[in-house]
Symmetry: C2
Subunit: 682 residues, 2 copies
């Protein structure tokens, strides 16, 4: 490699190979299944010194060591999987830490899941149940293997896989089998043994059973109701005319390796199998804002109370991985304009590097008006358009899709947009049952789409003009009226109250107080406003986890209890539901960490400290039929905006908009009236 890598750069392919080869001898004759070979980001204290020199253009000296974190599975003497976690020093070719993660499981292994599906279909009892269904000829049974969400019913020492059954009604491999959920269910052991086969409940008053119920043919419905693939659809609408984004001089951003500079912004793009896209060392106009931004976890629990559905609850990062499931983005399809794509690298089970092409795209978008003012005395209007830079990644987790995008704006704000799309997870439903199911929506005959929540954790590692920051909770409150000690003669006054958080903890939103969470640097006072420089979180106001506090769902997803958390920064503390979420039992999450430190007298103060903010948001998704068979995106947006950080509008120097630059076209009415006009004029 000609170029030296930056300490934040993901592992290069040769480093992945190297890490595997350093690790392999430590396992003798065993053949490790390499699950993860990823960058171990350098300790922050080293990085701060490094970045400081880098941004001052000083000699860099020795860079922090390049290290890899390796996660692998070997089959132990008792034929059980054993998970190991290793730290590898790539500069010195040695393993510096090795830990057997007893009782923990690695994230979902797609190859293994394929084996589970095959084992399931090859099982006599499964075959017998399928036979009893008496399925329509030409249809194909599809097994969807799901990680098992802990419900306390199984020994957690080994993996259990839940197998849900669907029917692909047509021969087309892209037919939507979620339109035909079957009421057969199987459980498969770590050793690929089918341990249980049973029938699913299909009415609210029904439970798991073993009755030999045939497939109800009344469920068969027209393709047009449930197919999304163009090959199975009637011709699409023809009314939409082309719309192209043209950038005659190319984009305004510059990319060097993993570094992007654009419109006073500078930051580094990271990527790993779990979080997918990560952002590092984010600066505006040379001033430090954030050390790291990442989606840290997401939890998707289903609200259907009937066993075995409480086992449907996915940690889409911890169990599935946003990186490993990232789409290969395509030019002209996933974005418009001039697009830069970034590849990701992962590893095969053998330890060889595995390319994940085009997993991140970077492009500009027009975002309407940035600011405008018309002087009503002179009638002179000044208007600037807002250009944003978008870093986007899209993941597929079985049936669902998530589109994640960071938006950088010229006014020094950052937005994190999530769009949920894809196909609803469905369960079989008795077509004779006509009442409303209180925890699901019937989206097609015999197809129930159960209610569920999507709960995301955005990890915000602020570095507001330096690492030592504080979390301030600001509330807007009415002044009392009629209190002789308070000047509020007309009852219209209101003030802000600021409370600086002293200790780690979780906090809720409060609309009635317009509660705002700010990250400030108390040692840097804005010379004009006289207040500490800061940024504020613009939360996406959301309902928190609905599962009972005593449920495994709640114990496993502690972050989902409060909208905003603050913790003291710790290297490697990246995951608010713990590192190992597969069949986790709880107690590894953000709240447990805080409690433990408090219980041991090690309560962490967070004022003027290196802190991390975690924002929980999401949607309580009670499906609409309009979400079927593929869901129009549901948008969620979180923002980060400067609050008295700069000395004025950071986008004030954006050039004004001109027709000369933008070349818009006037629509002429007489062009409009052609045969396509569907509404006649009186």
């Amino acid at each position: 490699m000609a170029l030296r890598l930056h300490p934040f750069d993901p592992l290069a392919p040769y480093e992945i190979s190297k890490a595997a080869s350093i690790v392999r001898p430590h396992f003798g004759a065993q053949d490790p299944n390499f699950r993860v070979i990823t960058l171990q980001e350098p300790p922050k204290n080293q990085m701060i010194l490094f970045l400081d020199k880098e941004h001052r253009n000083q000699p860099l000296g020795e860079a922090p060591r390049r290290c890899a974190r390796v996660e692998l599975v070997v089959v132990g003497s008792d034929n059980h999987n054993e998970l190991f976690d290793l730290l590898v020093d790539l500069d010195n070719d040695k393993v510096i830490a090795k830990k057997h993660q007893k009782g923990k499981h690695s994230y979902i292994d797609a190859d293994y899941m394929k084996q589970v599906e095959n084992a399931c279909l090859a099982n006599r009892e499964v075959q017998e149940q399928i036979r009893k269904l008496g399925l329509p000829s030409g249809s194909t049974v599809v097994v969807e293997a799901w990680a098992y969400a802990t419900d306390g019913m199984n020994d957690m020492a080994q993996r259990v896989t839940m197998c849900w059954f669907y029917l692909r009604m047509f021969q087309n491999p892209d037919a939507n089998y979620y339109a035909y959920p079957l009421d057969v269910c199987a459980e498969v052991s770590e050793q690929l043994v089918v341990t249980k086969v049973y029938r699913l409940p299909t009415r609210p008053d029904e439970r798991i059973h073993m009755a030999d119920r045939p497939f109800d043919r009344r469920k068969i419905h027209p393709k047009v109701m449930s197919e999304y693939h163009p090959g199975l659809r009637p011709s699409p609408r023809t009314t939409l005319k082309p719309y192209q984004v043209v950038q005659p001089e190319g984009p305004s951003f510059h990319v060097q390796g993993q570094h992007i500079s654009w419109e006073k912004w500078g930051f580094r793009v990271g990527f790993n199998y779990r979080e997918g896209l990560t952002l590092h060392d984010i600066r505006y106009d040379g001033r430090s804002l954030f050390y790291r931004l990442s989606l840290a976890e997401m939890f998707v629990p289903y609200g259907d109370p009937r066993a075995p559905y409480p086992r449907k609850a996915a940690f889409d990062l911890g169990n599935d991985g946003a990186g490993i499931n990232a789409n290969n983005l395509r030019l002209g399809c996933d974005c418009l304009g001039a697009i830069k794509y970034f590849d990701g690298w992962h590893n095969a089970a053998s330890g060889k590097p595995l390319k994940l092409p085009n997993v991140i795209c970077c492009h500009e978008q027009d975002d309407g008006i940035l600011w405008k003012h018309t002087n009503f005395r002179t009638q002179n209007a000044v208007v600037t358009r807002s250009r944003i830079l978008v870093l986007q990644t899209i993941i597929t987790v079985s049936n669902y899709e998530y589109i994640f995008a960071f938006h950088f704006a010229q006014d020094a704000s950052i937005f994190f947009e999530v769009r949920a799309t894809g196909i609803l997870s469905t369960v079989p439903h008795d077509v004779s049952y006509r009442q409303k199911v209180p925890y699901g929506t019937v989206v097609a005959p015999g197809v129930l789409a159960p209610y569920h929540q999507h709960l995301f954790s955005l990890r915000i590692d602020p570095a507001i003009d330096g690492q030592d920051n504080s979390l301030v909770i600001e509330e807007s409150k009415s002044l009392p009226m009629g209190d002789p000690t308070v000047h509020n003669p007309f009852g219209v006054g209101y003030v802000t109250e600021n409370r600086t958080v002293e200790e780690e903890g979780g906090f809720d939103l409060d609309l009635t107080k317009a509660r705002v969470f700010k990250f400030v640097n108390e040692s840097k006072i804005n010379p004009i406003t006289g207040t500490p420089v800061g940024f504020k979180l613009m939360p996406f106001p959301s309902q928190m986890l609905l599962s009972h506090p005593d449920s495994f769902h709640a114990k496993r997803s502690e972050f989902a209890k409060h909208a905003v958390w603050v913790t003291r920064y710790e290297d490697n503390e990246l995951f608010p539901a713990g590192r190992y979420t597969m069949q986790s039992l709880g107690g590894d999450g953000i709240a447990s960490g805080i409690s433990k430190r408090r219980a041991t007298g090690d309560a962490q103060t967070v004022r003027n400290q290196d802190i991390v903010i975690w924002h929980t948001f999401g949607s309580t998704h009670n499906p609409r039929i309009e979400d079927w068979p593929v869901m129009p995106n549901e948008k969620m947006m979180v923002g980060l905006k400067p609050v008295n950080f700069f000395s004025g509008n950071p986008g004030l120097d954006v050039p004004v908009s001109t027709q000369d630059m933008n070349k818009s076209v006037l629509y002429e009415d007489n062009n409009a009236c052609n045969n396509a006009c569907r509404h006649s004029r009186l």
Copy 2:
């Protein structure tokens, strides 16, 4: 006029002239000051019959009469302004109603406000105070006349105008005088008499006074801190490259008069002096959704408790008018692509028609991905992009700008986006006072930007598959755990509870219950889901009015107390703070209407009735210095989405995205590294 007008079409210029000429004889020798000549929309019962025939392509028969509503002022015998409200039948050339609106005031008269400014500057006492300020040479005093927000201190029978003083420091007429608020204040009577001149408080502990305090020269600051006009700014950044929207085959919409059809949508565009843009008879795929959508009011109260600042509280629709203050939009500046502009018509004081050019624009935008799914078994991805149709209008209300846009989407959702921009309203501040003011932010030396709220009322007149609709409040609630009567063995179950609202009233949001407000048609059951067809409100979660319930602010802006209101439809009930908001005393708003009907035993049921939903939203705007000298837009978004209205995703037939259609361009890394790269690679 060759074409017959549609009953929803705004008055044509010749109708405005006609209305004036019909009205004028009713006032004899008096010379009416015509404030309003606007369409009186036909009674809904007539319109429903008309629209029904129109959409069935049946003979239309007689259309509802064209009527005008006229508001005018004449000077009465006692030299007082007298306001009259008239209804004019344009088809039969007669005045059908005439009412003297005793004690009410028309909206702000720009010509009169100019006279107020002049009278103020010509006043000896004002001149004396200005002289005592000892202002820098070359500077110019600017008087900003504001409508008086009722505070109980004045006789409301006559108009009072508050005159705030600013300094234009430089000769350029576009210099930002809000950067130099002076501490002089004057009050001017209806008859242009300056009744009071005094000095403003400039510290929290100060009150109105008469001390001869000279202008503090420490307030003079560099242009770069406070000027936004390019003529007063250093050169803008040069890093932004052109970005153009090209629609080689033109836009996908069709316009015929005021009717727009686009991607299965059809609706009519209205416009009036007060609401500005209105939308009528909104249908998707031929099915009725909304009878009318409009921004109905907005209230901007300031939180500074010191007299006379409680008089700063603007009804930007009722007092100022969103139509009369709408910007003349410019090609290539306010939007990109192929743009259709609509003109508006208003009237001069004489009753002559007055053209308001380009007050509404209509164009398409790309809105990212509409839906996507990748079949993980075949790796086949299907992705469609979202195109939206935008109807936009921008208003300037003195210092502030609002950008209002309705977005129509291919999935049958509608969004109403508000962007607040423009210049903060400022007050003078003592540069020696170093503490944080609890109700304002110092944005430049001696310049305090007081806290304030922007509270909008979006009026939604649903017609979900017909006029008789119900408001349903849906909440997502955990099932109890451990209750033997409820099946929830693992504590993960949750359900929705639906409550249908029976009587008119106001309601709050509740994030903890994911409370959703739906408008449903209980007589139309979705055959698949088994539930009434409906739409839901996606509110913009906001803090409600902070002013004390006993304050005039609260009494005058009753709508600002709750996030969602439902009332029975009444012709002409369009304004939730009443029709006449200028110096209103309260009691004319939405809550009073409901109470009065209830008190008189005429409580209005709203179940299966023609109902109207009013959504209050906005921002508690505690200025940041980043909002100075011109504010980067602050976005607020309200949505309306189908809920079990259709039989599936309404955007399912949108064609898939292809590079052939979209013509994106691959960014090549080697193009990127030029001299502009500011961050060097290691």
